[in-house]
Symmetry: C2
DNA sequence: AATTGTGAACCTCTTCACAGCT
DNA sequence: AGCTGTGAAGAGGTTCACAATT
């Protein structure tokens, strides 16, 4: 029965990530036919405390029933609404190299509502082809395709030395949110949100943990 | 001249990630022939404050010269030592699918000291082949190859439903650190460190930012 | 004059603990 | 009795601001 509260001013990235994980859990238990779930169980399945789960949810409304737990169906819908997963997001991908191609072929995104509608690259042998049904265009087409398909989200998977320049072109083309897979810190254009997907850094974090023994936080 | 302090008990993941980024910046400016760099400049290039940079470094020792900044060469070496980047890390990869193959072909890891020495899969048509020079084995070979090559780090890139079981087999085989690319929260075996590389969650974070407008933290 | 290293202040996120529903 | 929702307490991480040093 998600009583919606006033929009909370600003939520931390970690809190949003946890909501995504709860959503997955709810999707899974829903398929198993479970009708209610307690903060305790949601917590255990996600490696956090039950207080954390309740706090995260209470930021956005009152979803549970005391003594009973949370109704799976309506909580799932509520989180979908909060995260904006109750719609389709057209996405473009710039950089159809090794990693970019794998992402184009990764069907999971589409299933979750993120539909890659176009790829972009500079390599002449890639332009004009299509990968897993996604057409590959030359970089010059970026602005008009972003406008035409009303795309707000872009995946950046070019080599590190090109990433900053491409990031700027994406911003100019009207992209508002970038998932950066290049191993470099970007100077973000005004009004654009950037998230990092950086495997090298995570490997180095593991290297640190093995070298020094132990890390705070999951 | 990195005076090493007593080993700090426990460092946050974010702090380690920032050190990785500083390391990259140092690598870049070193190639440009810069001999010293200030906390201010290191900060700007990484989107943090100069106090943050100084605090991060001071956890591990005294590396700078007041009035001058940090000597690039020796600071880079010091961070390499802290993160354990002053050696080669043999790595195994389990799950030679779409994403796994891209990672096998991604040369960047090797350049950073993470050398994928073997891939594992259940598909008979993959077993016995090799991808970009990395031989692919059947899952049963996991324990003996981990032992033989003295591998501590593993990349997990199997489909979500198989991830928990594979994670446990990796733990039993002697793997101590896992980079999980499957979109699911793992119940970590005792003594094993896990990091998540979860593009779907980052996309959902972007979806949230676009829907609700704004996110805390970079 | 410039810039580090760091205690103290500040802020944010997490956990506690318990009142209040069901 | 069971479990949520939440104010208050507690931890942890970040920034301030300035003495110390080159």
């Amino acid at each position: 029965m998600g009583t919606s509260k006033e929009v909370p001013t600003r939520i931390s990235g970690s809190s949003v990530r946890r909501l995504s994980r709860y959503y997955r859990t709810l999707d899974r238990v829903q398929k198993q036919g479970m009708s209610h779930i307690s903060s305790q169980e949601l917590a255990e399945r996600n490696g956090v405390t039950s207080a954390q789960v309740r706090k995260d949810l209470s930021t956005f409304g009152t979803f549970g029933k005391r003594g009973l737990g949370y109704p799976v169906d309506s909580l799932k819908d509520a989180i979908a609404g909060i995260l904006g997963l109750d719609r389709q997001w057209p996405v473009i991908l710039v950089g159809v190299g090794n990693i970019g191609q794998a992402l184009l072929r990764y069907g999971q995104f589409r299933r979750q509502g993120f539909h890659i509608v176009a790829g972009f690259d500079v390599a002449p042998d890639k332009i004009g082809t299509s990968i897993d049904g996604v057409p590959i265009y030359r970089m010059e087409r970026l602005p008009d395709l972003v406008a035409e398909k009303e795309v707000e989200i872009g995946i950046l998977s070019v080599p590190a030395p090109d990433a900053q320049a491409v990031c700027e072109r994406m911003g100019e083309a009207g992209i508002l949110a970038i998932l950066n897979c290049a191993p470099i810190t970007l100077e973000t254009p005004e009004g654009v949100t950037v998230r990092y997907e950086d495997m090298s850094i995570e490997l180095e974090t593991l290297s640190y943990a093995l070298t020094r023994g132990g890390l705070q936080e999951g």
